[in-house]
């Protein structure tokens, strides 16, 4: 720690320098990071709200493992849909990371193609979420109550996954726009493909949030 704060550490030098504190970070990327920081607080507040109501209701909390189970080919498998959604989102993060790599390698076509794949995976995630919502609504889960236990189960489920789903949907649109622009060669002139990395930051963040939702809402 002492080393980190000493006068000649890179940390102190960067902060004490003129013009920019984040060396080599473009305006867009800096802004995206700061936005994600703010968004972290939004999701954390949602999850804190969820934690508090879950801990303070006297009704029993439904067993997520059961509620989200599917019967496939006669087998009753707990949480299987959620597991698949998790894998899809992780896969999309992987393709996104490769798109960033292609962008920096100036492989325009591949970058755009990988981004389209990412968007497709994202869209299928949203599709599965829609399926999950439909299933739960058919089973009688509503924001104000459900047949399995505490009413807040439904409220927080729709609120938290809904908000995350909105983020994914927005991300899909964002990725599509950027990918299209790359295809059309909009960034060719400046030769700077950092936009892919910025879009990637957002996309990975959405994945990151899902990691927490998966752990706290579905597994806990």
């Amino acid at each position: 720690m002492a080393h980190l704060l000493s006068e000649d550490s890179q940390l102190v030098k960067d902060w004490a320098s003129d013009q920019d504190a984040f060396k080599g970070v473009s305006w867009g990327k800096a802004m995206m990071w700061i936005f994600l920081l703010s968004d972290t607080f939004i999701f954390s507040s949602f999850l804190v709200g969820y934690m508090t109501v879950r801990m303070s209701v006297t009704e029993p909390w439904p067993n997520a493992s059961e509620v989200f189970a599917l019967t496939i080919a006669g087998h009753h498998i707990p949480l299987i849909l959620i597991a698949i959604m998790t894998f899809i989102l992780i896969t999309s993060s992987g393709t996104m990371a490769m798109a960033v790599n292609m962008g920096y390698a100036r492989k325009r076509k591949q970058a755009a193609r990988l981004m389209f794949v990412t968007a497709l995976l994202g869209a299928s995630f949203v599709g599965m979420q829609a399926f999950e919502w439909t299933k739960l609504i058919e089973e009688g889960v509503r924001p104000w109550g459900n047949p399995f236990g505490a009413a807040q189960f439904g409220s927080t489920f729709f609120m938290v996954t809904g908000f995350h789903g909105l983020h994914v949907s927005a991300g899909v649109i964002y990725l599509l726009i950027v990918a299209r622009k790359i295809q059309l060669g909009h960034y060719e002139k400046e030769g700077n493909y950092q936009i892919v990395e910025i879009a990637g930051l957002y996309w990975h963040f959405v994945d990151l949030v899902w990691v927490f939702i998966f752990a706290f809402f579905y597994l806990w």
């Binding site: 890179q10 990371a97 790599n101 963040f205 990151l208």
Partner: protein
């Protein structure tokens, strides 16, 4: 973006985040494994502290990998890393106190409402 450039962003040395594809693939596989493990926690019906510890460990490992590698945090300069990672710490105070508060509420409810 274009508007900002119109006003002239000073040229800066962009430290491009170029890393070998192989690394991404490795992380990808690792994330798959971790997700499977955390799924297995539920599938095996582990309960109690063991369950919660495992869930948290796998969650933090996954989150760490995504932030560090996919979001390139480990290659960023310390100035950015600290600026992004320190502020969420104050959320820990909120989380901790709200856990205590929720606990207090449920105790009151059991004590006085008799449910």
């Amino acid at each position: 973006m274009s508007t900002s450039n119109a006003l002239g962003q000073e040229s800066q040395e962009h430290n491009t985040q170029e890393h070998p594809i192989g690394l991404y693939l490795k992380i990808w596989v690792l994330l798959f494994v971790l997700s499977t493990l955390s799924y297995m926690v539920d599938y095996m019906q582990l309960q109690g502290y063991l369950r919660w510890t495992l869930i948290i460990i796998f969650m933090l490992l996954k989150a760490g990998l995504i932030v560090a590698v996919f979001m390139h945090m480990m290659w960023e300069r310390l100035a950015l890393i600290y600026a992004i990672l320190l502020p969420p710490l104050c959320l820990l105070v909120l989380i901790g106190l709200m856990a205590i508060e929720a606990d207090y509420t449920i105790l009151m409810r059991y004590d006085f409402f008799g449910r």
